[in-house]
Amino acid sequence: MLQEESSSVTSSPLQVFSMMSLSPGLGSPYQWLRELKSEERGLYLIHLLLTCANHVAAGSLENANIALEQISQLACPDGDTMQRISAYFTEALADRILKAWPGLHKALNSTRMSLVSEEILVRKLFFEMFPFLKVAFVLTNQAIIEAMEGEKMVHIIDLNAAEPAQWVALIQALSARPEGPPHLRITGIHQQKEVLDQMARRLTEEAEKLDLPFQFNPVVSKVENLDIEKLRVKTGEALAICSVLQLHLLLASDDELQRTRSPLASRSLNGVHLQRALQMNQSTLGELLERDMANGYSPSPDSTSSSPLSLTASVSIDSFLNSLWGLSPKLMVITEQDSNHNGSNLMERLLESLYSYAALFDCLESAVSRTSLERMKVEKMLFGEEIKNIIACEGVERRERHEKLEKWIQRLDLAGFGNVPLSYYGMLQARRFLQGYSCDGYKMKEENGCMVICWQDRPLFSVSAWRCRK
C-alpha cells in the first residue's frame, strides 16, 4: 500500500530538507558532529529543530527527546546565529513538552526570579542595539507634532511608558515649535512603578529645562487590565495615543473568550488526542485539526486559565479598541511586530518565528560581537522569552501574539479608525536615520501609508498612524 500520490501532498521545501540530512545515532557517533563546519551545522540544526518540533506537535515525546539530545550537541547560546536560535527554540520546545506534566513544570519554574533591574536593562538594550524603536519613535513623534499643530493642550497616552528618550525628544521638539509649546500632559502606563517614577523624573526635568508646561501621570497597570477611567482624559485637550508593541498582548484574551465558547474546549490536544487521531484517515484528521484550530483550541488545559494576574476581566482587543475610540483621540500611532506568530498550529508558529527570529538574531550578529554579554542578555531575556511564549504556551498565557500588518489594519478599520498616512517628512527623517545607522541590512518600506522596517527582506516591525473616524 505504497501511497503514491506524491503530487497531492504539499509540503514545505524546508520540511523536505529536514528529512534529507542525516540522523546519527547516540553516543560516540556524535564526535563527527563537532567537526561540522558552521554552515553544515546550521543546516543540520534546522533539520533537527523541525524534526523535533514535528515530534512535539505529534505528541511523540520519545522521538522529541532524541532530537533534543541531538540538538543539544550542536546548539549553544554563545555560538553562531543558528546555534543560538536553536538553543532558544529547543528550550521553548522542551518547555512545551514539560507542560504535559504540570507538577514538574511548576516545580522547575518555582524558584525563577526575574529582577526588575534586569528587565529594565534588557529593554534599554533593545532600544539601543536595534533601530526599530528609534525609528518608531521618530515617526511617532513626527506624527504627533504634525497632528498637534496649533493645539494648546496636548495629552499623550503611552501604553508602555518604558523609554524616556522618546518623550524627551518630543518635549524638545514641541518646545521649539514656532507657535510656542503647548501644555503637555503625558499619561504613562506600565506594570512597574519604578519604571514610571524614573520616567516621570526624567521628563519633568527635561520640561523644566525647556520651560514647557508639563505634567506626567503614571498609571500602574497591565495593558490588558487597563481601566480607561484612570486615564482621565479631559475635554478640550487634543489626545494622542502611542502604542509600542502592546496591542498584540490583548489578542490573548480573545483566544480565551473564544475557547470558552468552543464545544471542544474540554479536550486536550497535546499528545493523547493527536495520537489517536493519527490513526484516522488523513483527510478527516486534517479536517479535525483545522476545525480544532479554528476554534481557538488550547492543547494544554492546565496552562490557560490560571494566570494569577488576570484578576480583573481581561478585555478583548475589540473592546479595547472601542474604548480607545471612545476617547476620540486625534491621533493614534501603533508600532507592532509585523510577523504572523499567532497561528493556531504549532508548526505554523514555529516556522514563522524561526524566520523572524533568525532575522533578529542576524541583526545582532552583524552588529555586536559574539562575546558580548549584552547581546546574550537580549537574546535570552527578550527574544528567548518571546520564543518560549510563542512556542510553549497556549491560550491566554500566550501573550506574544504578533500578527501581520494587514490584520491590524483590518482590526483598526473595523474599530472605527481611519489610516493617516505617515507624512513624507516623517518618513524622510526615519529613512535618513536608518541610513546613518551603522548596520547595513535594515530596510524601510512603505505599505498602505504605514511603514515597515525589515532586516534584509524580512519585515519585522510596522508603524502606522490612525485617527478617529466619526
Binding site: L14, S18, E39, L43, M280, D362, E365, Y437, C439
Partner: protein, 481 residues
C-alpha cells in the same frame, strides 16, 4: 519625411557647412531632402531645412588631423590647426552670398520634430534634442540617480540637485516653488487637514534646514568615511573579531556625524540625534548622501563585500554546497558568516531541489522505528560512510540530478529517520522556498501531516507506532541501495 501637400517646394540642401565634409558618413536618413514650404506658424518659412543623420548629430570630433590625431568638430577649425603643422590648408567660403536661415529636422521618424514644419532652428538645439530624446543616457546624478544624455543638462542638474526642495505632505518633491504651490492647492492630502495649512511654511523652512543638515552630514560623512579602514574588507578573520575592532574605532566617527546632524536646530534633527548615539561602525556608509542613494549605494557596498569575503565559498574543498549556490547566497546575504536567514533559505532550497518523487520513491527511503535501538545499530555501521557522504556526496546538492548521487550514497542512513517523517507529509516540495513553502508545510501538517511520502516510506499509513515499525522494517530491506 512628410510632404506638404499644399506647399511649393522649399529649398533644402543637404551638403552644406559642417554636414558635408566627410561625405562618406553623411547619409541622410529616409527620403532625400526636398524643397518645401512650411505651414504658417513656423518662424521662417524661407528657411533651409536640413536633415542630418544620427551619426552627424551625435558626432563629436569628426575632423581629425592626420599628423597629431587631434579631433575637431568643424572643418574650419581643423584647417586652421593644419596651418600649425605647415600643411596645406584651405578655408572654404560660404556657398552662397545670401544668408539663409537654416532649420533642422530630427532624423528619428517617430519623432515630432522629424516633420519639417516642426523643425528646430538651431544646430546645437537639434543635436541636444536628439541626444536627449533618442540617445542613451550616459550621465547620472549621484544624488538622485537621475540620468541625462546631454552633459550640459547633467551639469545644470548637479548645480541644483538637493539644494532646495519643497515637499508636499503627500510625498511629492518639487524643486520649483511655483509648481509646489500649484500642487499644494489641489493636493488631496492637504484638503483633509485644513488645520495644517499653517504647518506648511514651517515645513518648507525645515526643508531648507534639512538641506543644510544634508550638506553638513555629507561633509562629516565623507571626511570620516575615509578614515577608518573599510570594515568589510575581507580579512579572513572571523566576523566577530572584526566587528569588535570596528566598534572601538568608530565612536569618534559616529559622534562627529551625529554632531553634524544637530547643527540645524530644527525639530527634524532632534529626533535623529537623540536616537543616534550608537558606538557602532559607521564607516560602512557610502560618502555622498541622499536617502535613496544611500540605499542603493549601500546595496553596492554589500555586493562588493560579499564578493570579496572569502567566506565559505571556496575556503574548503569539502564545502557542502556548490559554488554557484554559495554565490547566490553571498549576494543575497551580505554577512560573511552564513546568517541564519540564509541558512533557512538554503535549507528550503535544498528541500525544493529534492523534488524528484520517483527518484526518491525508488530510493526507498524508509522510516525507522522510533526506538533508539534501531538507530544505534544502523548508525554505527554507517558512521564512516556518513562522513564521507558529507564530504563528497553533498557538494552535488543543488541539482536534483546529483541529488540522486547523494541520496544513493547515503540512502542507508535514511534508515535512521525518525518516524516523524511520516507526519511531515513529505511530498516533494513545491518549488517555493521560504515562507510560502512553509505555509505549504503548514497545510500539509495541519492536514494531519500523515500524508503520503513520495520518498517511498509512504507505506506507513498513519497507524499507530507499532504497525509503522513493522511495515518500515519490512520495507527496509529492499530499500537500501
Amino acid at each position: 519625411m512628410a510632404e506638404m501637400e499644399n506647399s511649393s517646394p522649399m529649398a533644402i540642401s543637404t551638403a552644406s557647412g559642417e554636414a558635408s565634409a566627410s561625405s562618406s558618413g553623411n547619409q541622410i536618413q529616409g527620403a532625400p531632402p526636398k524643397k518645401k514650404r512650411n505651414l504658417p506658424g513656423m518662424p521662417d518659412p524661407d528657411a533651409e531645412v536640413i536633415a542630418l543623420s544620427p551619426k552627424t548629430l551625435l558626432a563629436t570630433n569628426r575632423f581629425v588631423c592626420e599628423i597629431c590625431n587631434k579631433g575637431f568638430q568643424r572643418d574650419q577649425n581643423l584647417q586652421l590647426h593644419r596651418r600649425g603643422h605647415n600643411l596645406p590648408w584651405k578655408l572654404r567660403q560660404r556657398t552662397s552670398k545670401e544668408i539663409r536661415k537654416r532649420v533642422y529636422v530630427c532624423p528619428e521618424p517617430t519623432c515630432v520634430h522629424h516633420n519639417p514644419t516642426r523643425a528646430l532652428g538651431d544646430l546645437t538645439g537639434i543635436k541636444k534634442h536628439f541626444c536627449r530624446k533618442h540617445g542613451e543616457k550616459k550621465w547620472k546624478c549621484e544624488r538622485c540617480s537621475k540620468k541625462y544624455a546631454v552633459q550640459s543638462d547633467w551639469k545644470a542638474h548637479m548645480k541644483t540637485c538637493g539644494t532646495r526642495e519643497y515637499k508636499c505632505d503627500c510625498g511629492t518633491i518639487f524643486s520649483r516653488r511655483d509648481s509646489f504651490v500649484t500642487h499644494r492647492a489641489f493636493c488631496d492630502a492637504l484638503a483633509e487637514e485644513s488645520s495644517r495649512a499653517q504647518a506648511l511654511p514651517i515645513k518648507s523652512n525645515t526643508a531648507a534646514n534639512q538641506g543644510n543638515a544634508d550638506t553638513n552630514v555629507k561633509n562629516a560623512i565623507t571626511t570620516t568615511a575615509s578614515s577608518p579602514p573599510p570594515p568589510l574588507t575581507p580579512s579572513s578573520s572571523v566576523l566577530s573579531s572584526g566587528l569588535s575592532i570596528q566598534s572601538s574605532d568608530n565612536p569618534v566617527v559616529v559622534s562627529s556625524a551625529a554632531g553634524a546632524t544637530t547643527s540645524p536646530t530644527s525639530s527634524s534633527s532632534v529626533f535623529a540625534s537623540i536616537f543616534a548615539g550608537n558606538p557602532q561602525p559607521s564607516s560602512k556608509m557610502p560618502p555622498p548622501s541622499q536617502s535613496s542613494i544611500l540605499q542603493s549605494a549601500s546595496g553596492l557596498e554589500r555586493t562588493s563585500l560579499s564578493l570579496s569575503s572569502p567566506l565559505y565559498l571556496s575556503s574548503n574543498g569539502s564545502s557542502l554546497f556548490p559554488a554557484p549556490d554559495n554565490d547566490h547566497y553571498q549576494y543575497a546575504h551580505p554577512q560573511p558568516a552564513m546568517s541564519a536567514t540564509a541558512l533557512l533559505q538554503k535549507a528550503a532550497q535544498m528541500g525544493a531541489a529534492a523534488s524528484n518523487p520517483s527518484l526518491l520513491r525508488g530510493l526507498g527511503l524508509t522510516v525507522s522505528s522510533a526506538s533508539a535501538t534501531c538507530l544505534d545499530t544502523t548508525v554505527k555501521m554507517e558512521n564512516d560512510s556518513m562522513v564521507d557522504c558529507l564530504g563528497l556526496g553533498l557538494p552535488s546538492i543543488g541539482s536534483s540530478g546529483t541529488f540522486t548521487d547523494f541520496m544513493m550514497g547515503s540512502s542507508s542512513l535514511f534508515v535512521n529517520k525518525p518516524t516523524t517523517l511520516d507526519l511531515l507529509g513529505l511530498g516533494v516540495g513545491a518549488g517555493d522556498a521560504s515562507t510560502t513553502g512553509l505555509s505549504a508545510l503548514l497545510n500539509s501538517f495541519g492536514g494531519g501531516g500523515l500524508a503520503t511520502t513520495p520518498y517511498g516510506m509512504a507505506e506507513e499509513s498513519p497507524a499507530d507506532g507499532e504497525t509503522w515499525d513493522a511495515e518500515v522494517r519490512k520495507h527496509n530491506g529492499p530499500a537500501v541501495l
